[in-house]
Structure formats: C-alpha cells, structure tokens
C-alpha cells in the first residue's frame, strides 16, 4: 500500500486498550480547540496583505484548522491584529475584543501591532498590548507568511496546554481588570 502523506495530529497521552482510549478532558478539549481556531483578521495595512497570502492556497492556513475566517467577533477564537493601529482606532479594536466570547486569543502580527513599529508618533498606538492582552507576538515588517503560520502554531501550543480552569482563575481576572475589561 502506498504510504499515506497526510499528517494527522497526534493523539494526546493516555491509555490505549481494546476498543477504548482514556485521557484527560483538558487534553481532548485543548486538542479540539487548537485545531479549529477560527481567525478574525483585523487587517489595517501591509501585514494584512501577508495574511491574505497566508490564507491563500500556497501557504494555506486551513491546514492548521483555521479554514473558516470569521468576520464576526462573536464566532471567532483568535484575533489577528495586522497593521498600524492609530489611537483613534484603539477603542474600536477594544470593542471587537470585548465582543469575542471566551476562550479568546490574540496574535499581534508585525512590528506596528506589537510595538508601534517605526511610527513613534502622537497618532499611533504603541503596541496593541496597551489596550488588549496579547498571547503571541509575530515580529517582522511585514512578517512573511511562514512567520504568521509559525505564530499560529505557537498559539496552538498555548491552546493545547491551556487548563480548562484558566479563564476562571484569579490571575486571568486580574489580567482583564488591568485592562479595565469586564
């Protein structure tokens, strides 16, 4: 038989027996979440163009379970902020983040979203972590699609290992409170 070239996601640690497989619920849920992250692209400049390449056939982010790009924050798991965010746009970004339901993750793609980049000026927000918490930063100006895919894979690792209790923990509530998010 011809060797199958399809890469399947490995099963988590557990006990295999005749007709059963036992593992921790955390790991099953983490596996499911990590491989079906629905992205919400918040693209404001050239990093957004790189993201379009990332979603297209050549790089194909769908291979990692992010087939369905959600343009409603209510159905998205992963907010990708790509590009310069001006101070005037900061409340809108924040509102988009607030509309996402838990669990939610954020990737800051590119120098501008991560730190303001070259725009060290009165009108530009110096990194989106001034208004919302960020899970993964992707460097580059703009980053290549490989880097964006790498950022998504880093996030998948976070999602896989995230405890089901994290979103109810005191630390997490404290983090949100530090951003004045309910």
């Amino acid at each position: 038989m011809e060797k199958n070239k399809v890469n399947m996601v490995a099963a988590p640690e557990g006990h295999v027996g005749e007709g059963f497989f036992a593992t921790k619920l955390d790991q099953v849920v983490g596996l499911a979440r990590a491989n079906s992250l629905w992205p919400l692209p918040f693209a404001t400049s050239c990093c957004g163009i790189e993201f379009m390449a990332t979603m297209a056939s050549h790089y194909d982010l769908a291979r990692f379970g992010s087939e369905r790009v959600s343009f409603s924050p209510r159905q998205a798991d992963m907010l990708l902020v790509m590009g310069t965010i001006s101070k005037k746009m900061a409340p809108i970004l924040r509102q988009v983040y607030e509309q996402m339901s838990e669990p939610r993750w954020v990737i800051a793609v590119g120098a501008c979203a991560s730190s303001g980049g070259i725009f060290d000026t009165y009108s530009v927000l110096q990194g989106i972590d001034k208004v919302i918490p960020v899970d993964v930063y992707v460097p580059g100006c703009p980053p290549r699609p490989e880097q964006i895919v790498d950022g998504v894979m880093q996030l998948q690792e976070l999602v896989k290992s995230e405890s089901q209790r994290r979103r109810h923990s005191a630390e997490y509530k404290e983090l949100l409170a530090s951003y004045n998010i309910e």
């Binding site: 101070k87 005037k88 730190s115 060290d120 009165y122 009108s123 990194g127």
Partner: protein, 175 residues
C-alpha cells in the same frame, strides 16, 4: 484672452487697496497676501467676480511660524483654481499667535468644511462661522495641536521603549 496675473492684481488693488499686498509669482503660481479681516471678502471676490471666476478651492491649510511677530505666527493658505482659464492662485493670510482666528469660508466653498476642520485639528486655528469645528483626524480626547512647532517630536514620559535598543545612548555597548 488669457487671464493675466497683472489684471488680477489690478482688480484686487482697486477693490481692497492696501489690504492686499506682496503680489508675486512663486513656483509658477501667482501669490498674494491678504489681511485677515478682508481675506473672506477677497476669496468671495475672486470667486464671484465674473472676469476672475476662481470657482474651485483646491486646498486650504495652515502653517506655523513660531519665530515671527506675534501677529504673524500662523498662516492660512488658500489655493484657488479657475477652470476656464486654467489659472491658479494662492492667497495667504497671517494670524495672531495667541488667538489665531479667521472667518470661515464654508459658506463660499462647501469643500472647505473638512479642510478647515483638519487645519483646526492640527494647528488650533479657529474658523469663525464654521458649522461644526471639531477634530476630524485625531482622537477626540486630544488636547494639543500636533503640527505646532512646540509640540514635542517624542513623548518624554514613555517607558516602553528602551533607549539602548534605538541607538539613542552615547555608547550602547557598555550599558
């Protein structure tokens, strides 16, 4: 017959006398300066006088000259265009440094609405009679006027950018 700069100058001087001055051609464009209290009427005249017919406002913007006399620290520049003769003209007016104020020309050109808002946003120039003089590009909470020369290039109180990583310290290697 083409519209000559000399004819424009004569007509303006007949009507406004000493309030219009420093006629010259700069960068292939006819320029004049008008006193702040007549500039509205100068533009109205340029637009409505049939032989001049400058019926299009190309641009309106501000300039800051902090080192000039107190009464000439701000400048508002109007670019007008006569489509029939393809003749352009630039009208400048100088304003007081502490209380820059000039009459709005929105009643003459509707397109001046957003241009005057932008000029207010960046220079704090007050356009008297403007229907909605609020910030247009910058965030509403902003209290300063960023294109004024005294506005600092960088925020001095910031903590997020380490000078060592931006080549701003004298010797980066030893720190």
């Amino acid at each position: 017959m083409a519209l000559e700069s000399v004819d424009i100058q004569n007509k303006l001087q007949e009507t406004f006398g000493d309030h219009v001055k420093y006629f010259r051609t700069e960068y292939d464009m006819f320029v004049l300066e008008a006193d702040v209290d007549v500039v509205y009427n100068v533009i109205k005249f340029l637009k409505e006088e049939p032989s001049l017919n400058f019926s299009f406002l190309t641009d309106l913007c501000g300039v800051h000259y902090p080192d000039s006399n107190l009464n000439e620290q701000f400048c508002v520049v109007y670019h007008l265009h006569n489509w029939y003769e393809n003749k352009r003209i630039r009208v400048k007016t100088f304003l007081n440094g502490t209380n820059p104020e000039v009459k709005s020309i929105v009643s003459l050109f509707n397109c001046a609405n957003w241009m005057e808002r932008e000029t207010f946003d960046f220079y704090g120039i007050n356009f008297d009679g403007h229907p909605n003089l609020v910030r247009i590009l910058n965030m509403d909470e902003m209290t300063s006027f960023p294109m004024r020369k005294e506005f600092p290039m960088e925020d001095s109180g910031r903590t997020d950018k380490d000078d060592r990583f931006f080549g701003r310290t004298i010797n980066n290697a030893t720190i």
